[in-house]
Amino acid sequence: MNRVKNRGLWLTVGLTLAVGLWPPLTGDANNREIVVTILMYAALASSLNLMLGYTGYVNFGHIVFWGLGAYVGFYLMSALNMPLVVAVLGGGAASGLIAMLLGQAILRLRGAYFALATIGINEAARAFVSNFEPFGGPTGMSLNFKVYNAYGGAMQSLWIVYWAMLLLAIAAIVLSYAIKSSKFGLGLTAIRENEDAAEVMGVFTPTTKAWAYVLSAIIPGMAGVLFFFKNGNIEPVDAFRLHTSIEIIVMVMLGGQGTLLGPILGAGIYERLRGLLLVSPLFKNIQLVVAGIILLLIVLFIPAGVVGWLRRRILPLREWVE
């Protein structure tokens, strides 16, 4: 049984590595930019899956962790001249801490009420940062171009971000797998299926949910720092986009919530699709409409997502696809 389960992990990591190693092998800058975005969304979708797929809590505020972590990391770099590694770790830690505090308040809510609260948090975070002077208020912060010299110049920095993003995506997969095959993960699925019954059976629901929330927040915080380090500047409107949160939900649902491969696959498919739509004259202004339609179709017809659907239809796949 364990060997079979491991196959699911190796397949997902292998697939991510195959895609992830392609740009460095070809050395193509264009490919690198496409893949780095896919990797980032893979990490975001996979970490959101801990809440959405494992615990059954719909979180519209996942991007808040990305944005706030990025702001903290960016502040460490631009104001305190910390190295990128410290900024990334700091951003992740900050997001985890924020999740812990927020969780105390909103994890008491269930279902639609929790989802609504997370939308509120997204708006509140943007409003807060827009008025927070140390973070540059509405205009945000910029990195001095000299910062990149410490990493061998701008070009080299892009590759550093690339490798770090690949590492994060794989870390998200390994974390998801470790949780899924643990007692903690069993507690999460029990909460997803029936929180009251889980409580009566002895699952410490408040702490269990809080840890899921914290663990799902750390990787986005780190990814945010990397993204905005590459970007060179950060503004509230870029850091807290509600529709990006929704797009991450679409990715998880598309690939298959609660599965290991699903969010990764969903991120890849959705990002490629968006790439194609953005260059098409017909769709470039309405690509979000397509996201909306995809979400609608999934919820109506294949709520288990691509991976869930395949697992149900093609039984031999179960040994390989987790």
Partner: protein, 246 residues
């Protein structure tokens, strides 16, 4: 005394679901809890298992005051229950359902040990052939067994059974009753809510009758079936009264 209730009352707004309920349950007993619909039996279970906090009164479990503790703490201390309306974890297999009980119950086992316990328990309740099926594919009788299995997997000291016989056919009832006796023989104290009168009278050491949230009688099955107040409470339902008199 494994369980002691002292002056339990529970009010929902202006409605009194329970008023001044006090009784003890001693180790190894089977206590039957009967009463007409809406008498407050399930509410009492919710109070004992920590789902509701009583408005007044105290609950003692193995001598400790556990009033108002959350359900998961009580589960860890050794109180397990089944639900009248079955609550399976639908998208998990039968085995995983039972593993949740073993993992998070009194023994707080790791996954590997929990799987072993779950296998044993599924064998005991007769669900072993269905272990790999999803819980939502079971029929009602099987789901009741699953509820029982999950509760047992936590290796409880006190087991609260909420109408495990309802909706079962006579042969299934027979199986379930012998299972309940077997569980008691293994040293688990049982409180059971039941409407199937013959079964509860047959299996219980002691019976408590609730009506409109109040305890109207307490005693051996024999004494209860001859108690005037009890017969009166059931008069609205002549068939049940007849069964009692049997």
């Amino acid at each position: 005394m494994i369980l002691q209730l002292q002056g339990i009352a529970k009010q929902f707004g202006g409605l009194s679901a329970l008023t001044n309920v006090s009784f003890d349950v001693s180790q190894g007993q089977i206590l039957g809890l009967i009463g007409p619909n809406g008498a407050g039996k399930t509410t009492l279970f919710n109070v004992i298992s920590g789902v509701f906090r009583p408005t007044t009164g105290r609950v003692y479990f193995k001598g400790d005051d556990v009033t108002g503790l959350p359900p998961y703490r009580l589960a860890r201390m050794g109180i397990a229950r089944t639900h009248q309306i079955v609550q399976p974890l639908n998208e998990l297999t039968v085995l995983r359902n039972v593993m949740v009980g073993a993992c998070f119950g009194r023994e707080n086992l790791g996954l590997a040990a929990a799987e072993k316990v779950a296998d044993e328990i599924l064998e005991f309740v007769g669900l072993a052939p269905r272990a790999r099926q999803l819980a939502n594919s079971l029929n009602v009788a099987q789901k009741k067994r699953l509820e029982m299995a999950r509760a047992l997997a936590s290796r409880p000291f006190l087991l609260l059974l909420d109408e495990v016989l309802a909706g079962l056919n006579p042969s299934e009832i027979g199986d379930m009753v012998s299972m309940v006796k077997e569980i008691r023989n293994r040293g688990v104290t049982i409180v059971m809510i039941e409407h199937v009168m013959r079964a509860v009278m047959n299996v219980s050491d002691r019976v408590i009758v609730l009506d409109y949230g109040e305890m109207i009688a307490e005693g051996t099955p024999d004494a209860i079936s001859k108690n005037d107040k009890v017969i009166e409470a059931y008069l609205g339902d002549p068939k049940l009264a007849e069964e009692l008199a049997d």
